[in-house]
Amino acid sequence: MDNQQSIRPHPKPLRESVNLSDRTLASLLLAPTVAVLLALTIYPLIYSIKISFQGQDGNWTLENFVRMASDRFFISALAHTFVYAAVALTFEFLIGLALALLLNTHIRGRGLFRALLLLPMMLPAVVVGVVWRLMLNSNFGAVNGTLKSIGVNTDALTWTASPVLAMASVIAADVWQWTPFMFLILLAGLQAIPQEPYEAALIDGSSAWQTFIHVTLPLLKPAILIALLLRTMDLLRVFDQIFILTEGGPGFATETASLYIYRTAFRFSNFGYAAAMSFVLLAVTNIISIGYLRVLQTKEA
C-alpha cells in the first residue's frame, strides 16, 4: 500500500503538483461538459441537418424541402400553428397585463392571489391536457354539466369535436395555463419601475389613462417584449396539451406543425422529412424572435 503518500499531512493542490496554468485547468475541468454537450446536442443537430437533405433511400436530395411546398397537411398544420400562437398570445398578454396591474396595487389578499395565479403554470402540460379533456367531454364533462344545470342546451357544444370549437378549446387551455407566466414577468417589470416618473406625472396633472400610456407602458416595454418573445417561441412548438386534448382532431382542425412532425417521424418513420420540416419551423421561430429583439434593442438604445 502507498501509505506514505496518501497520509502525507499537507498534500499539495492538484494544480501545484502538476504545474497547470489557470487557463489549462479551466479548460480541463470544462472538457467533460463540452464532450457531453457535443454528444447530446451538436451531433444530433448535424445529423438531423444531414438527414433532412437525404431521401428515404439515403441519396442526397432536396425533395424533402420541395415536398413541403405541396404538402397540404404541412401547410395547414403551419397555418393552425400561427392561428393558435397569435390568438393565445393576444389573450395571455392582455389578461396577464390586467392581472399584473391589478395585483401591483395594494389590495387585500394580493399575496394569496399571486400564489393561486401561479398554480396552473406549475402543472405539467400533459396533466393540463387530461384535465381539460375531461372537463370538455361533451356528454359527461364538468363544463357542459354546469351549463346544463343552469338550463343551457349543450347539444351543439361539442367542444373538441367541431373544428372551430376544438381550436377555441385548445387555445383556452393554453391561455389558462400560461397567462400566469405573462403575469409573473409583467408584475416583476412593474415593480422595477421607480416611483419618480409617477410622481412627476401626478404633478403634471396626468389622468390615470395618460399615466398608463405615457409612463407605465414605455417603461414596461422591455418586460413586455421578453414575455412575448418567450411565449411566442413556446407557442410555435406547442405539442403536449394538443396531443392529449384533441390529438390534432377533429379532421386535422387542431393539428399543429409539431404534431405533424412527430407523426411523420415516429408513425411514418420518415425522419428526413420530419427533420426538414423542423428546420423550417425553427427558421420561422428565429425570424420572429429576431424581430422582437430588434424592437427591444432600438428602444433601449
Binding site: 356528454n139 361539442t158 369535436a161 390529438e247 382532431g249
Partner: protein, 436 residues
Amino acid sequence: MRRRRRSHIGLRAAALVAALVFALCAAGCRRGVSGGKALTIAINSGVEGDALRQAAKDYEQQTGVHINIAEFPYANLFEKELIDLNARTGAYDLIMLDDPWFPKFVSQDVLTDLGPLLQKHGRTAPDDDFVAASIALCRDPFRTAGLFALPYVGNSQLFFYRKDLFAKYNLKEPATWDDVLSAAKTISAQETNGAPGGGKVYGYVMRAAQGNAAVADFMPIFWAFGGEMFDANRQPTVNSAEGIAALKFMLELGKYSPPGYASFNADEVGAHLLQGTAAMSINWPAWISSFSDPAKSKVTGKIAFGQMPSAKNPGSAEIGNWLISIPRDARNPEAAMDFLLWMTSSEQMKSSAKRGNPPTRRSVFNDSQLVATFPSYPAQLKSLETSRPRPRTPLWNEIENAFGIYLSKANSGELSAEDAMNQANAEIARIITRGK
C-alpha cells in the same frame, strides 16, 4: 494530525465498499448477459404484460432460462421496436407487434423467418389449432408464404347491443346495417329519459376521432357495403360508389350517436355503453370484462355480443392481433423460438386467456372452463374466423392517418361524404406514389 489520518482511513473504507459493490454488480449483470440463459422480450404494457410476467417465472423454473420483460406503452412500442431493429442492436430476442405494423417490419427485412427454426422442431407449419385468420397475418405475402411471427392475442371487433332495450321494443338482433339504423332510430326516439342516471339513450355510439379510431369504426361498414381500399393494381378506390355510400351511411348513423362523436376514441365509446347512455356499438373485446363489473357498469347483464352486421357483403370485423416475432439480429434465435412455441402453446395461452387476453387457438376458445368465465368466447371465435385484416401495406400508418383525417372531417361536418372520399383517395394515391 490524528483527525486527518482517521478521515483518510474512513475514505479508504468507503472506497473499498464502493469497489466491492461495483464488482458484485458487474458480476451479477454479466451473468445475465453472457450466460446465454436469458432472453429479452419487448411487449405492450397492459393485460398482455400481466400474463407474460407469470409465464416468464414458470418458464425460468422449468428451463432455467430467465426472461427479461421490457414493457412499453402502446404509443411508443412501434417506434421503439422499429428504431432498435433498424439500428441492429440485438437488444430484443422477441418482440410483440400489432398486426398492422407487420408489413412495415417485413418490408424492412428486420424479422427472422421462422420456417427453418420450426423445422428444427420437426414441423413444417404451425399446428392447425391456430385460427387460420390469425396465422394468415403472420405470413408474408399475406396468407401464402414465409412465416415471420406467431399470433399470441386474438382480438377482433365485436358488435355490442343492449338486449334489454331490444327486447323492450321487440327488436331482433341486427343482422344488417339497415337493421342497426332502424333500431337506432327507434331507441333514440323512445328512450328520451331512459339512461340509468336520467337522460337520453342514444341508439348507437361510434368514434370518429382522426386516425385509427375513425378508420376502425368505418371499416366494417365500408367492407359490408362492398368498398375496397385498393384495386388489383394497388391503386386506392375508397371513393368508389360503394365507398361513398358507406360513408353516407356512417354519417346517417352518426345522427343517432352522442354529439361530439367526431372526437371520440375507444374510451368514450366504452364509457357510453358502461353508463347506459348508448344502445349499440362496435368495440374491442377488452371492454367485455368491464360490462359485467358492477363497480364500472350500470348495465351489468344487459349487453349482448352479436356478429358484425352485413349489407351487400356479409359482415366482417376488423382483426387486431398481437403477434410475436424474433428480430433478425436476435442474439439467440433458437432459444427465442423455444420460448415462442412454449408461450403460444394451448396450455400457456389458456393461462394468458384467464388474465383477459383472447386466444388465437380454437381449442382455447372452445375450452368449457373458459367459456363459463367468458360467455362471449363463441361470438369472439366466430368474429375472428370471419374477420378481415387492415389493408396489408408497409405504408399503412400513413394511409390510415390520412384516411382517418378525412373520415373525421366528414363526421365533424366539415366535408360532404363525396368530398371527403375524393380527397382521401387523392391523398392515399400520393402516399403510394411517394412510397414507391
